[in-house]
């Protein structure tokens, strides 16, 4: 019975990673006496071990086995749940992840780290050796193993006939047993029926196994048979140690007797032996694994995958069904159409519109994942950071079920980590400072995600000291980012920490602000079409609010006409659209054109000039022109356009793919008539206009032809 197991490896990997995540988060929440969590952790480890065993990833099996043993002791109450052990287990989870990632990437792993952890696990287990054998074990058991010699186990394994039909293969079981020691297998074929009566899908054999092993216990052997326990007759008996084994046992006894003080040494010896075995195993493993994975490597070009709930797929199927009905109705109508049927046509088209919209939403929903995927890593991060900085921090997660597009999620993860790290590092004060200020010594960081309009908002809130406004301001003046004496609003000051200049380590310790790579955080968020805002109260803490579009694929846009071209302004950036009034236009400070919008003075950007397009609009007349007021980075500008067209959702296409990035343009889309329209990148557009203004200023002195009004 040979099945190509390699096809199941991706599933094994996905499940293992899930299991590891579960182990990690459960370990962090583990409390004394919480049996349910403990069992969940154990089960996760166990199934990873089982899976790895099935596929022959022996290094994973071996490593996980130790983890499992430790967990088992904790589960059985032989070992109190201590912080040290939990830490060790967390490190072990990291190691397991590393090993499994190495399988996935067919790459290498940090062997030293694995070995080191392996040793630590062994030490942890050894340290508890007296407890290793539960009192439930009978006394003979104990006496024999205590000689530490080879023990011989007789195992009679009589499986039920249908064993293989449930997917179990005795060979795999025997392989697992062989790992425990030297194994002799005798098959008993007495019950074989004649070849004519035999059902090829049934198993008629039974086995007598003899296992010579140093460290096997009945429990360990039973564990091998755990999956088939209900489907076989299993008797495990222990024989007296064989002659030669006694000898070796005696020898070892002598050894330990001669060096009673140095018992650690033998233990180490023991361990290094095992480790060597691991090394050997892994080396063989590499060759074995390589062969099957190579064939699958073609399909493995990291296409990524999404696990989707069946309900989402069901709703899609329903919608497609409706769409098909609408389609058949319309085509029937079209085959024999006259004007009397116009009404039915309109209603059919309306239905089609509705179907398309719903279908689009459903398809988008498939890419949506709950944000807990991104949030899950934070408990561990806070745990580690808290230990490193010596701060006691409580993490509260909210809105974990809020859904977000997979690509957005992947790209927002790193900036979020950065923000959380900063909150711990610079936001939360040390316990002493907190106590002195009359706050609870335990700091608190709240991660919250919720929907707002067509966007998702992720908040990172800490109850730390807040941003020191003056320190940031002074630093900015010192750095030359702001001229001394400029009066800035709080928000403008907070914006300063996103300046690239602010991102060196020393400054952070000077000022209680945050700055390590905040410029990068901001850039990443902007690349996703998002925004970040800061709100901070001295002594009470800060809140970083990240505003993101739900998806990168579709955007709500306002179509505008400039000359012969159609552009799309992202709806989210639009403050308002208005018709200019002559008296509200001011030319100030040497011909800068501003529009008075209530209290604000908004600079006017004529798109046709910025983009070099011929426009119908009379360039010199701003009266009764159309102005689309947009905002980006807190800066409002008015875009001068010829006409406002419809508002519609547009599918974003990359301009980069076949061409290159264009300043002021974030992408392109295809309109209903099949033509291409550019999507305006408002922050980029503002920057472009500023550069051009500077350029104009500098070239004005050289060429007299450049004289003249900007508008």
């Amino acid at each position: 019975m040979s099945v190509d197991l390699s096809q199941f490896i991706p599933n094994f990997l996905a499940e293992s990673f899930e299991g590891l995540e579960l182990m990690e988060s459960s370990l962090l929440n583990l409390e004394q006496g919480d049996d349910e969590t403990m069992n969940a952790i154990f089960r996760a480890a166990h199934s990873i071990k089982g899976g790895a065993g099935t596929f022959g990833f022996d290094h994973v099996t071996e490593f996980t086995h130790l983890v499992e043993t430790l967990l088992d002791e904790m589960r059985n109450g032989q070992r109190a749940i201590k912080q040290d052990d939990v830490e060790l287990l967390l490190v072990s989870v990291d190691c397991m992840r590393m090993l499994i990632e190495a399988i996935r990437d067919e790459g290498d792993y940090d062997k030293d780290k694995i070995d080191e952890t392996y040793q630590l696990l062994l030490v942890a287990l050894k340290g508890k050796e007296p407890d290793l054998l539960p009192t439930t074990n009978n006394s003979t058991d104990k006496s024999v193993t205590s000689t530490d010699g080879m023990t011989e186990w007789n195992i009679s394994f009589i499986p039920e006939h249908h064993l293989v039909q449930t997917g179990n293969d005795p060979l795999l079981l025997f392989n697992a047993l062989a790992e425990l020691g030297e194994l002799k297998v005798e098959a008993n074929c007495n019950n074989l029926p004649s070849i004519l009566d035999a059902d090829p899908q049934e198993l008629y054999l039974s086995w007598n196994l003899t296992l010579h092993s140093k460290n096997a216990s009945e429990a360990l052997i039973r564990e091998v048979f755990e999956w088939v326990e209900d489907e076989c007759e299993l008797t495990i008996t222990q024989n007296k140690p064989a002659e030669c084994d006694v000898e070796s046992a005696n020898l070892e006894e002598k050894l330990t007797a001669s060096q009673p003080a140095d018992s650690n040494d033998t233990a180490n010896l023991d361990e290094s032996l095992t480790v060597e075995k691991v090394a050997e195993n892994t080396q063989q493993e590499k060759q074995v694994i390589k062969a099957p994975t190579k064939s699958t490597s073609k399909t493995k070009v990291d296409a990524g995958s999404i696990r989707v709930g069946v309900d989402k797929v069901d709703s899609l199927i329903n919608l497609v069904g409706e769409l098909v009905i609408t389609q058949s109705m319309l085509s029937e109508l079209g085959s024999d159409f006259d004007l009397s049927k116009v009404e039915r046509l309109t209603s059919g088209l309306e239905q089609l519109l509705q179907n398309t919209k719903e279908l689009q939403e459903s398809v988008m929903r498939i890419r949506m994942l709950p944000i807990s995927f991104a949030f899950n890593r934070f408990p561990r991060l806070i745990h580690d950071l808290g230990k490193k900085t010596g701060k006691d921090i409580e993490l509260v997660l909210k809105g974990e079920q809020t859904e977000l597009d997979k690509t957005v999620m992947e790209q927002i993860s790193d900036p979020l980590v950065h923000l959380v790290r900063n909150a711990v590092d610079h936001g939360i004060e040390t316990a002493e400072v907190r106590a002195a200020n009359g706050k609870a010594t335990k700091g608190k960081i709240v991660l919250d995600a919720y929907h707002q309009g067509g966007n998702i908002v992720i908040e990172i809130k800490d109850d730390g000291g807040g941003i020191n406004r003056d320190a940031v301001y002074n630093k900015a003046v010192e750095k030359g980012i702001v001229d001394a004496g400029t009066s800035l609003t709080d928000n403008q000051v907070f914006e300063l920490i996103f300046e690239p200049g602010f991102s060196t380590a020393q400054e952070i310790s000077d000022i209680s602000g945050r700055g390590v790579g905040m410029d990068v955080v901001k850039k990443n968020i902007q690349a996703l079409g998002g925004r970040i805002q800061i709100d901070s109260t001295p002594g009470e803490g800060s809140t970083f609010k990240v505003n993101l579009p739900l998806t990168l694929a579709i955007l709500d846009g306002q179509l505008v006409k400039v000359g012969s071209e159609t552009y799309i302004v992202p709806l989210i950036t639009i403050v308002e659209s208005l018709q200019t009034k002559a008296e509200l236009i001011n030319r100030v400070s040497g011909d800068m054109v501003l529009y008075r919008l209530r209290e604000d003075n908004v600079p006017i950007i004529p798109i046709y000039k910025l983009f070099g397009i011929a426009s119908d609009a009379d360039a010199d007349s701003l009266e009764e022109a159309l102005l689309v007021v947009v905002e980006a980075d807190g800066q409002k500008v008015g875009l001068l356009v010829d006409d406002l067209l419809a508002q519609q959702q547009v599918v974003i296409k990359s301009l980069d793919e076949n061409y290159q990035q264009v300043e002021g343009i974030s992408g392109a889309t295809i309109l209903g008539d099949g033509s291409v329209a550019m999507i305006l990148d408002i922050p980029g557009l503002i920057e472009l206009a500023m550069q051009n203004a500077n350029h104009r200023l500098s070239s004005k002195t050289h060429s007299p032809s450049a004289e003249g009004a900007m508008i």
Binding site: E565, K609, L610, F611, G612, I613, K653, S654, L655, E657, N658, Y659, Q660, V662, E663, G664, I665, A668, I670, G674, S675, V676, A677, M678, L688, Q691, N692, H695, R696, S699, S703, S705, A706, G708, A709, M710
Partner: protein, 184 residues
């Protein structure tokens, strides 16, 4: 249809003279086209399709030889006027003006770009040995675009280096600045 009929439908070699497709022989094949009065050619395996000229959407502040972008079955494809890029001939659009869309594989990723030419002419067979080095004797076309020359009858066809065509000049701020000044 009976299987016997199917078998008898398969032509025996040499049974038909396949007029018009006699160019399918061994050796490399090139699509030749004209720019002004001159003959050029590109590797036929790169040619994705040949389209008639339609006005593309302008890319803001692009160099003058970049006409804009078009929608090719949902993909945004930039259109480059080869006549302007190489400064041979004028950007006049006639009935024969076509866009040759090339899909160009590269080290990083493939790009699909359309090139405006005056007309496509023929498919050319040329063995490696037929391709001669182009002498560096001036001319408008930068040397790195030229893969070699092939003699066809009395004419000389210039083979273009498709890899080089893929390289697009970045939008320089200088171009934009000048445009801005021109417009103000």
């Amino acid at each position: 249809m009976d299987i016997q009929e199917l078998v008898s439908d398969i032509p025996v070699e040499g049974e038909y003279s396949l007029e018009g497709i006699d160019f399918i022989t061994s050796g490399e094949q090139y699509l030749t086209f004209t720019l002004a009065k001159e003959q050029y050619a590109v590797d036929i395996l790169c040619v994705e399709e040949i389209r008639s000229w339609e006005k593309p959407t302008i890319i803001p502040n692009s160099p003058s030889h970049v006409c804009g972008v078009i929608n090719m079955r949902g993909v945004i494809v930039p259109i480059i006027d080869l006549r302007l890029k190489f400064t041979i001939g004028e950007a006049v659009y006639t009935e024969t003006t076509v866009v040759i869309v090339l899909s160009i594989e590269g080290n990083e990723r493939s790009k699909t770009i359309g090139f405006v030419v005056d007309a496509v002419s023929d498919v050319l067979n040329a063995e490696d040995t037929d391709i001669k080095n182009a002498p560096a004797f001036g001319g408008c076309v930068p040397q790195h675009f030229i893969a070699g020359l092939v003699n066809v009858g009395d004419n000389v066809v210039t083979l273009l280096n498709v890899e080089a065509l893929k390289q697009l000049e970045p939008h320089s701020s200088k171009v934009r600045g000048e445009q801005w000044i021109k417009n103000t």
